[in-house]
Symmetry: C2
């Protein structure tokens, strides 16, 4: 980042958390201009990013005082009056919000799984209109914060030493295991993480009719999510065209080398800005090129959280 | 196992491999009757189960000599003349094969992912007929043999010590990572593991019209596979009925506690006979109870290989 007289005053709330720390790194990498920088965190929450309750309490107060708040919590995402934005996907949702108007505003950052999925699905959706999407996720520890990453590492050491694994953040063994996402399960049997994918997709695509189902699973990986996405289209889309579309999509890199069996992995996208897409193939369970299967990986802390939020701020500059 | 004058003569080929070792344990647990036992393995393949080339070479010779061969390789699975059997699913495919007829026969054991998926999907299929199935797998190291399990452990130690991970079995880091299944990728973009799920399902269900797509992923888990399965039915099936059907299905255990967020995990089914099913819920992306999402876990070495083969043999007794 660089000090600029006419840059905005920047404040980061929850700066000691995994996402908070990444904000600093992203702002620095991107040479984000600022006039002043405030780093905010409570002693009690050291090591944690601020959550929904902090956003609900202080977000509206900051907006009243003329601040533009980019909120990474789930507090306002489904509020009709608040734009939910992936800059490569729906920048138009932010129209009317101006940095130097003196008028405050709140913009919501989507959930990490939604961002990573839609970075790949949207360019295809624009061409052939997605009618239905079946998503299975392979989610990293980082989505549950820095302490969850530490617990995965600690548990792994313990298991390798033949000890009982310490379960503080998660109630079951995470090392060499996987489990249904720890978000609360709703009355329809989906957990909150899954319903975020369902609902946020509809809002971001401004399309109430798109059908989405998701199964969200935590896997013992540190900081990047993977997603297996099955797509059904309203008009045919062949895999070569899809690959070409994705190659030209901003923020997307195609890794799809069948001969070398080289496809996206969480490790390869860790600490990277781009979302990687591969395993692009015509779905054999659908006739006439109306379906595709793809596999997507993205850094959960970076594009799934901090980078996307900073890109939202950059749209305002 | 127990020595019985009128029991069959049993031979295990590839007994030093992960599956071979499990055969001994399953035969012993189930008190399998035998007159004599031959354990076969080559020095060159110590620690590995016998693969398709051994089956192709020696399988027909053994059959000619009057042996009933239960083959765990992929060599004969798609051969129209050879039954492909999951005892709980399609025992009728073995009709006509008799132990004491003196006539040899070959019976193929399905691929591990297929067995685990169909143990859960078949009882639902019987009630409401599955028209389409979208599967994403979370596959353990054991599917690639004992050496792969050792490599995952070794790599994990190395990564925790800040060392470069040793990549002998897999060409990329497996510890704290995941990747597209290492089976060769075919010209349609699916890998062989995925096409096994597509084709074996059709053969086992004796239903050429069922549509299946699969994305197979290796995750850093030791010996049990997990699968996220999205089902479309020809007739409506509500989730309560589905749960009841699965509770009564042989070889299946339902773990589906939404309030406690307790669902199947690979660790919980490791070394267990039963396949566990949970996350049973009406698919929100399909209208009128025509769809369900489920999450299935099963021990890859046990029900995914050795146990299923021994059950096939038991059907003959």
């Amino acid at each position: 980042m660089s000090l600029k007289e006419d840059g905005p005053s920047v404040a980061i709330v929850g700066v000691t958390g995994a996402v908070g720390q990444e904000f600093l790194s992203v702002l620095s990498d991107r040479d984000f201009p600022y006039r002043s920088l405030k780093l905010l965190a409570s002693k009690r929450s050291a090591g944690k990013s601020a959550g929904g309750s902090i956003s609900k309490k202080f977000g509206p107060i900051a907006v009243d005082k003329g601040t533009i708040v980019v909120d990474n919590s789930s507090a306002f995402r489904m509020d009709d009056a608040i734009p939910l934005v992936i800059p490569e996907v729906n920048p138009e949702a932010m129209e009317g919000i101006k940095l130097k108007s003196g008028k405050g505003a709140l913009i919501a950052n989507p959930n990490c799984s939604t961002i990573i999925c839609l970075m790949a699905a949207t360019p295809l959706h624009r061409r052939a209109k997605v009618s239905r999407m079946v998503v299975s996720t392979y989610q990293a520890a980082s989505g549950a914060g820095a302490a969850a990453m530490e617990e995965l590492e600690l548990q792994t050491r313990e298991v390798l030493e033949g000890k009982e694994p310490t379960c503080n953040i998660f109630k079951q063994q995470y090392a060499f295991n996987l489990f249904s996402h720890n978000a609360p399960v709703l009355s329809n049997g989906y957990n909150e993480e899954e319903m975020k994918l369902v609902k946020e997709t509809r809002k971001i695509w401004n399309n109430k009719s798109v059908k989405v189902t998701a199964t969200c699973i935590r896997v013992p990986v540190m900081r990047a999510h993977a997603e297996s996405v099955n797509l059904q289209f309203e008009t045919p889309l062949d895999e070569d065209t899809a690959r070409e579309i994705l190659r030209n999509a901003p923020g997307v890199v195609v890794i799809d080398d069948r001969a070398a069996n080289h496809f996206p992995t969480p490790l390869e996208v860790s600490n990277k800005d781009d979302v990687a897409v591969g395993r692009i193939r015509q779905d054999v369970s659908q006739d006439g090129n109306y379906g595709l299967d793809i596999f997507v990986c993205g850094d959960q802390i970076r594009k799934g959280a901090a980078l996307n939020a900073v890109q939202i701020a950059e749209l305002l500059l």
